[in-house]
Point group: C3
Chain length 139, copies 3
């Protein structure tokens, strides 16, 4: 197994991880699989196309389905056992549920076997933060 | 590979599997990945935060989006080739689709590399039943 | 590792991959995991029940939530850097987001450890096409 932990500053909502993954696996000949995992509850890993208008469609859908002011009980900070300045992000948690924390992609001869339009994204649902992503390759 | 099959009585809708997983992998030094899989079509495996008000938000969303009496054709027992007392659970199947049957989590030195707020849940969409979960560790 | 790449003509929307997977792994005794991955952005891999009325419920939900004429910006072909006859399929991309590109299933003695009602489907969101699915077994 090969592993790399990276910290990503999420200044964009959709961040391609392809070059980081390819860098890790580029010398691994033969068959393998790469597992990509994000260690946060308000981020996701998603294999999808990165066309910018599509990303705007996704953003629209998420904002309409789980608006920021959606009256989430998770945001009732006053009754929870957390600091009073706890982040108000029920919407981020709900949006994450639509996605997953991990993706698992077959590799061959140092490359992921992605289709022509596929990319691997870290999706951020909170404002920009530093996020840990763990990339593990096994063969 | 290490494997453990467990049977969980789902008396709660969200059941943390963290202690069962940690018990299996606790002596495994170095890098690994754990695959968690539920062998039922109306349950899911989800890496998420277990804060109770958030769980109520999730339950609200599922109940609103796929109500029990949603007129699912899967519930037209009378025209299907099943016993007349077949469980009426179209809503459970639809809610499961929102999630996944498996999660795959990197491990290091006997622990899952979960973030601070992440836990691994078995989610039950039917009433309480006995459910089989398969936990497989490889390194 | 064992790997098989197959090309599936998606004349149906939900296509069971069980026999293809079982054929690959049938001589593999002991423990293993199979990764199933589709190399296209408008297809998904999903472990679910294949009961036909349930499939109609799923189709209803997808059509209602992401209609073909949903006004997706991805479909504004005239402002994108693509041929003018580019496929209009914003709805297919949005429906795919609800699902995943991969599933990971534990195996034992040459068989996937699926539950009684579980099957592994390739789901097609576009009209019938030829699609590449990669099946990888490791133990």
């Amino acid at each position: 197994m090969l592993k790399k932990e990276i910290v990503v500053k999420t200044e964009k909502q959709f961040i391609s991880l392809k070059s980081e993954i390819n860098e890790l696996i580029k010398d691994e000949m033969g068959m393998g699989i790469v597992n990509v995992f994000v260690a946060h509850t308000t981020c996701a890993i998603k294999v999808m196309e990165g066309e910018i208008l599509l990303l705007s469609d996704v953003q629209d859908y998420l904002a309409k389905t789980w608006p920021k002011d959606g009256g989430y009980r998770h945001d009732m900070i006053g009754i929870r056992n957390v600091p009073i300045n706890e982040r108000i992000n029920g919407f981020s948690h709900m949006r994450q549920l639509f996605f997953s924390s991990d993706a698992n992609i077959p590799c061959q001869d140092g490359r992921m076997q992605l289709g022509q339009w596929q990319d691997v994204f870290l999706i951020e649902f909170d404002p920009a933060r530093e996020r840990k992503v763990i990339i593990t390759y096994y063969s």
